[in-house]
Amino acid sequence: MTPAIAPAALAPRQDRRAQWLLIGLAVALTLFIVVVPLVYIFWRALSEGFAVFAQNIMAPDTLHAIWLTSVVAVITLPVNLAIGIAAAWLIARFTFPGRKALLTLIELPFSISPIIAGVCYLLLYGRQGLLGPVLAAGDVKILFALPGIILVTLFVTSPFVAREVLPLMQAQGSEQEQAALTLGASGWQIFRRVTLPNIRWALLYGAVLATARAVGEFGAVSVVSGAIRGQTNTLPLQIELLFNDLNIVGAFAAASTLTLIALVVLVLKTVLEGRTR
């Protein structure tokens, strides 16, 4: 960064070469690590013309993957919001034995590789798993079906909302809520009219991050979904499948959809960041 105010004329002359070298290096790295791959996705997706691109997107399996991913995102979002608010509120407003442990537990999914989460679910709910016989007896299908995909996605995305909301609630303290209490507000009124408006931007920011992750999750989902074409294939899994099929345009077309979602999320996130800080 160049300083906002130009150095005075009599200031000692600096060597500009080091400056330009560092800036050039940063630009080159950004280009090759971030920009080129992004542009390349769209370039390859559209390399055989828009008609082929559209045809690939409209392929039934890809369309189904897009739909399935949307369903997963739509179902996990409200659950994540509820869990995140409840956890943040509990930890920010109360002291109880095990508070630290709960805090660690909430952040656990961040430190565990998603594939491990998938394997855990496999061992728990699978046919030879701990709960397998019970589930089979009740004819409940969790693995290689929508419930399994939603469960692992929840596992992976659960920390996001709490992680955003908790520091804000801790910083704001509970005085406003106490004031509302002395003014006669009920618990629900306090939450809806005082707590929620104060955390709304952090909440939205957390929701955006969680949704982005839910849409893009690959590792954990790949273990539990079984990747059945047109049935349990989410968009990231579909991309891999198309790629393995050597359907390059199809893979890149699906990838461009996912990238587009990611870019929208990125813009949303940047806008929200300005509001929360």
């Binding site: 005085e175 406003q176 106490q178 004031a179 209490l181 002395t182 006669g184 009124q189 009219r193 104060n198």
Partner: protein
């Protein structure tokens, strides 16, 4: 008596914050809880509000037990030290909050709420600010809005936690007079917490001095100022000079001190400690006196000086500078005592002023 507090005790872990508080507050009274930080005054206020609960003791209002009631049921107005205004609501919505959360059956109509808020805005002299947000207000304006929000529910008791703590000196003085006016015309029973004795004395009908979780003294400001009941109150109110004296037939005696102005006290003969304000000590040049001026410093209006005797007694005095001719270092002086408070028992050096009372000792010269 409308508010009766009896034997109230509260501990946080191993610390006893309140140890048997007894206090009665009459209808329409303006009472100050005065004490250093850690004296338990804010905890007491929060218990009255229903934001905290005692471990033992009683709290009743007009004969009804308040410990069985929630904060909302008690209908108190609480003004927080940092106001705790709702940042996402305008001044108008902040003040109306308590009315809009009432159950539907009791809730006034929109027009009536608006009229109530308008009335309060005028009453609190902030009618131009109704559409602003708290972030757009000065500290003094926020204080008024916080008070308006608390008063909108027509509270039975108004509770204020360090109401002027976050304001600068000039605004503090203005708001103090303004609050006294508000109280006099609204007539709400009011209890406020402060660590500033000037604030407590100027504003309150009665002052409750607290220390270490107990009430040290309750009384009219003048009464407490002239007759501090305990050594703590004496030190806290600026009687920072402590001199060992001997009591004989109800009169205090000490070498080099002229104590004739002090009234006779019903204390047994023997050692005692005289507590003095530096301004109540008049040094008089006297070649035969045992004291000698050893230090002087001026504040412009006042001359502060230290007089020491050969016996090691060190006394700080304060005189108007223009009347202090001839009081230079080395001058032998006698000390005429205008007013002071005597407590039985010696060893004043062990009872040096506490840190908590230090910043306050000049609050009222």
């Amino acid at each position: 008596m409308s508010l009766v507090i009896s034997h109230l005790a509260r501990r946080f872990g191993a610390t006893a914050v309140l140890r048997g508080i007894q206090l009665e507050v009459g209808k329409g009274e303006l009472v100050a809880l005065l004490g250093p930080s850690g004296s338990g005054k804010t905890t007491l206020l929060r218990i009255i509000a229903g934001l905290d609960w005692p471990d033992a003791g009683g709290l009743s209002f007009d004969g009804t037990d308040w410990l069985g009631k929630s904060a909302a049921e008690r209908r108190i107005g609480f003004v927080f030290q940092h106001y705790a205004l709702f940042p996402h609501m305008t001044v108008r919505d902040n003040i109306a909050f308590g009315l809009t959360v009432l159950p539907r059956a009791q809730r006034p109509g929109k027009a009536q709420i608006a009229a109530t808020v308008d009335g309060l805005l005028r009453f609190l002299q902030i009618d131009g600010l109704s559409d602003r947000y708290p972030a757009e207000l000065s500290g003094g304006q926020r204080q008024r809005v916080a008070l308006g929000r608390a008063m909108a529910i027509e509270p039975r008791v108004l509770l204020l936690d360090e109401p002027f703590g976050a304001l600068d000196a000039q605004v503090r003085r203005d708001l103090r007079r303004w609050l006294r006016g508000v109280h006099d015309s609204a007539g709400t029973t009011t209890i406020f917490v402060t660590h500033d004795q000037e604030e407590a004395f100027e504003l309150a009908d009665r002052v409750v001095v607290m220390n270490g979780g107990v009430v040290e003294q309750i009384g009219h400001p003048d009464e407490i100022y002239d007759h501090p009941a305990t050594p703590f109150v004496a030190r806290f109110l600026g009687l920072t000079v402590e001199v060992p004296v001997a009591m004989r037939a109800g009169r205090a005696q000490a070498a080099g001190l002229d104590l004739a102005a002090l009234p006779r006290r019903a204390l047994p003969d023997g050692p005692a400690t005289l507590f003095l304000r530096p301004a109540d000590i008049q040094p008089v040049p006297d070649p035969a006196a045992p004291f000698r001026v050893t230090e002087t410093a001026t504040t412009g209006a006042l001359l502060r000086l230290v007089a020491e005797s050969e016996a090691g007694c060190r006394i700080e005095a304060e005189v108007p500078r223009r009347e202090a001719r001839g009081l230079s270092v080395g001058q032998p002086v006698g000390l005429r005592i205008v007013a002071g408070q005597i407590f039985p028992g010696g060893a004043p050096s062990a009872a040096a002023p506490t840190d908590a009372s230090r910043p306050l000792k000049e609050a009222r010269p």
